[in-house]
Subunit: 96 residues, 2 copies
DNA sequence: GTCAGCTGTCAACGTTCATAGACATTACAT
DNA sequence: ATGTAATGTCTATGAACGTTGACAGCTGAC
């Protein structure tokens, strides 16, 4: 499952919570957040705190990973901006 | 790469930014955030806004995915709390 | 040396978050 | 019908966010 928006993460949390048979209050307690926050997050709250999101996902046993590949949709495969910026800023240390 | 903490995400952002040859100001503009925020985020800011994090990762072409498998470390393979909760709350609608 | 660019830090400001508590609604069970 | 449990909504409060603008260190180029 790919996560591009807060709504995706909210749906993931809700889906995993139901898979585990947890109610909102129990998950909130396990994750150390308020039940209200769970409600808002599952509804797609987009300005939630990163720390709370990570805590909740950990409480659900969800592992987040980042693919090195370029996004498949919506992002151009060739990023001219990045190439031009790279050419203009040769001083930056590259990762190797 | 697995992301468990805000620090992980910060390091990911910094690493990908350098890979693309972008400086902080350029990335900030592309992602629609302030340069100060990039500085704090790359340092591991843990209470950052989810929306800004997602915007930044999108600007970097990073795709976030969630594995269905259980976390390998730190989480018990058998979650008694979840099982008991499930037994006590048979009313909850299961995903499938 | 001098200059330009990148990075990190600071203060002040307005905005938004996250929380607790109470309430209404829905659904199931007895 | 009554009672229990889960979910969603609302208000008010304190805390933290994210932003701008300016400044100091540092590196590399001229």
């Amino acid at each position: 499952m790919t996560l591009k928006t807060a709504r995706d993460i909210g749906l993931l949390i809700k889906s995993k919570r139901l898979d585990l048979g947890l109610d909102q209050a129990t998950l909130a307690k396990k994750a150390g957040v308020s039940r209200i926050w769970i409600v808002a997050m599952e509804a797609g709250k987009d300005n939630a705190s990163l720390a709370l999101v990570l805590r909740t996902l950990n409480a659900l046993g969800v592992v987040l990973t980042a693919d090195a590949r370029t996004a498949q949709t919506g992002a151009p495969q060739i990023d001219l901006d990045a190439i031009i910026a790279a050419a203009k800023a040769p001083r930056i240390v590259r990762k190797s």
